[in-house]
């Protein structure tokens, strides 16, 4: 904390540490910025010195009908994943907030673990399982797989908001004559609304991000795991920069929207 006693600080060490922070952020942002820059660069094999400014990769992407189909699919899947994940995540967050029960640890583990399982393994297991129960090979299977990964994020965001709620608020509503369902509608949901919308956007962004690249690049109507496996064997072109930049801008828009909602303007976040 910088209001700490000045006596115990060494300006040289502080400056060195701050320089280190800047270097760390350079490392993190170098690939992101490079991708952005080279998406507007004419060269087929990007490097420096830069070629001339060009929107050729964007045009190439835009001219590809498969890309447009991919975009439609991605958006559709993203919207579905966002809504289902948020609904499931809300239920789980509320369950954790409100109830104690035998086996709750297991319940929470189920709710939160999926993102820690490596994508390769999840992909393999999903693909094998879903094809077994005849669910593979369509957008539905992608939605299913993504909800498994995204619901935990939605739960975390909404649970955080619930933990900011005065624990007396819900019983206070019951006490004033609101049934559990009425309390849900008139108290819990209004209170968590910013987090619900935030979770919606964040899960959409996660889904969009995971899905878009694979779909855009291979452009085929396959399931996600197949596509990821297939894509890895295939070739990439600077088009991926254009797509990546587009996806990034879209995701960030969603995330910033979520952030605005979560950090709350106006009455939604009371400090009491």
């Amino acid at each position: 904390m910088n209001e700490q006693n000045e006596l115990n600080r060494n300006p040289l060490i502080d400056a060195a540490l701050k320089l280190y922070v800047i270097l760390a952020y350079l490392f993190v942002f170098a690939p992101i910025l490079a991708s952005f820059v080279f998406s507007f660069n004419s060269d087929r094999f990007p490097s420096i010195p830069l070629g001339h400014f060009s929107t050729e990769w964007y045009r190439a992407v835009a001219a590809d009908p498969l890309v447009w189909e991919g975009l439609r699919n991605t958006l559709g899947v993203g919207a579905a994943v966002g809504m289902i994940s948020t609904a499931l995540g809300f239920g789980a967050a509320y369950t954790d907030y409100r109830y104690r029960f035998f086996g709750k640890q297991v319940y929470l583990a189920l709710a939160l673990l999926p993102p820690t399982i490596p994508v390769v393994i999840m992909g393999l297991a999903m693909l094998a399982y879903l094809s077994r129960i005849d669910l593979s090979g369509n957008a539905l299977s992608v939605i299913i797989a993504h909800v498994v990964i995204c619901a935990p994020f939605a739960m975390a965001v909404i649970r955080l908001r619930l933990s900011q709620m005065d624990p007396s608020l819900e019983p206070a509503a019951w006490n004033l004559g609101a049934s559990e369902w009425a309390t849900m509608r008139h108290v819990i949901i209004p209170f968590t609304r910013p987090a619900i919308l935030g979770a919606l956007f964040i899960t959409m962004a996660v889904s969009f991000d995971e899905f878009a690249i694979a779909w855009f690049v291979s452009g085929l109507n396959e399931t996600l795991p197949v596509k990821v496996l297939g894509f890895l064997q295939g070739q990439v072109s600077p088009r991926i920069n254009a797509i990546g930049t587009f996806v990034f801008v879209t995701s960030m828009t969603l995330v910033i929207l979520a952030q605005l909602l979560l950090s709350g303007r106006g009455p939604a976040t009371d400090k009491e």
Partner: protein, 361 residues
């Protein structure tokens, strides 16, 4: 006597192996201001929450207006509560908060607005009707919380340490607001607090609880003058407690033998049997201080002064007897003016047998 508004009949509450409230019987009368007082964990809040339907009693029956309400969910009881945190809905403005209970009862928009406005008026916060809760001061929020609970015009209002978040001056002002409100509306108030001054200044009757058990029920005067148990005497803090054994003095009078000396009891010791362990309770205001040994006093002790404390018009002087017992004496400044008070100096303390009473050990 008329039927009580609320009665707890053998009500107990356990959380697992932890006993929050031991089997208890309590009647709350219509129109009274009842305070339930005790330190944290004594079961006072659990008692209130059982009445509000937020905790189910482990055994016993709770009746409201004669009807058993054990199985009634919280939202079907008319037992509105003012919460320690106030629990105002932050996403609703002032008047929407007040309207909430009416809305849940299916009352039409115009009617509920009218009734809410009436209560805002009454609580003198009408001008804040459209404000957000976050924009209000502590005292204003308090009034909103009261209006929100009272708008349904209940027979009983539960208050769970509602003043604990306020500063001292505001607390005193809100106490008189609450007391007046209770008097004007005639609504039964059940007020849970850990503060003796709040309970004693507002309540008609006070219930003192400890470890899930009712220690004493009575008017503030009764409890203050004659604490019935050692715990109550200790808890109120204004009594001197002499633990000892009942005996007879040389003259055959009932007395108690304590490490600090033998003291005579009034009225033959209330039928106590000699040999029994008991504690003598003497209020700090009933103790007299003398520099010279008082010639005619029955009960006296010599004690060394160890400290003094001035609060407003009165002073509390602390003494220690030879046996190590601490004694407090409260006096006005005038009464102390003639005494050569100094820490370390010895004095003689006395009291009349009529000012002491026994509590069981």
């Amino acid at each position: 006597m008329q039927e009580p508004l609320v009665s707890f009949e053998g009500v107990a509450k356990r959380f697992g192996s932890y006993v929050a409230v031991q089997k208890m019987d309590l009647q709350i009368h219509k129109g009274e201001f009842l305070a339930i007082m005790g330190s944290s964990g004594c079961g006072k809040t659990t008692t209130l929450r059982m009445l509000a339907g937020l905790e189910a009693p482990s055994e016993g029956v709770i009746r409201l207006a004669g009807q058993a309400i054990n199985d009634l969910p919280s939202w079907s009881r008319d037992t509105p509560m003012v919460w320690q945190s106030l629990a105002l809905f932050p996403f609703l403005n002032v008047i929407e908060n007040v309207e909430f209970a009416l809305k849940m009862r299916g009352i039409g928009r115009a009617e509920r607005r009218r009734r809410a406005e009436q209560w805002l008026e009454r609580m003198q916060i009408a001008e804040f009707a459209d404000r957000n809760i976050a924009q209000l001061s502590g005292g204003q929020r308090q009034r909103v919380a009261l209006a929100r609970s009272l708008v349904v015009e209940p027979e009983i209002l539960l208050l769970d340490e509602p003043l604990s978040a306020l500063d001292a001056a505001l607390k005193v002002r809100m106490q008189s607001v609450l007391k007046n409100l209770q008097r004007e509306t005639g609504i039964t108030f059940v007020y849970v607090t850990h503060s003796q001054s709040e309970a004693f200044s507002m309540a008609d009757r006070v219930v003192i609880m400890s470890r899930g058990k009712i220690e004493q029920i009575g008017t503030p005067q009764e409890i203050y003058r004659t604490p019935r148990t050692r715990f109550v005497a200790d808890f109120l803090g204004s009594s001197n407690i002499f633990p000892g054994q009942l005996t007879r003095d040389a003259g055959g009078r009932a007395a108690i033998a304590t490490p600090s000396g033998d003291f005579v009891l009034a009225g033959g010791g209330q039928g106590a049997t000699p040999g029994q362990a008991a504690s003598l309770i003497v209020l700090d205001t009933k103790m007299q201080i003398h520099f010279q040994p008082p010639p005619d006093a029955v009960n006296t002790i010599e004690a060394r002064m160890i400290g003094e404390e001035f609060i407003g018009a009165t002073a509390t002087i602390y003494f220690e007897t030879g046996a190590g017992q601490e004694i407090r004496v409260q006096k006005s400044h005038e009464e102390l003016a003639d005494l050569p008070l100094a820490v370390g100096r010895s004095f003689h303390l006395s009291w009349s047998p009529a000012d002491g009473h026994l509590v069981p050990e």
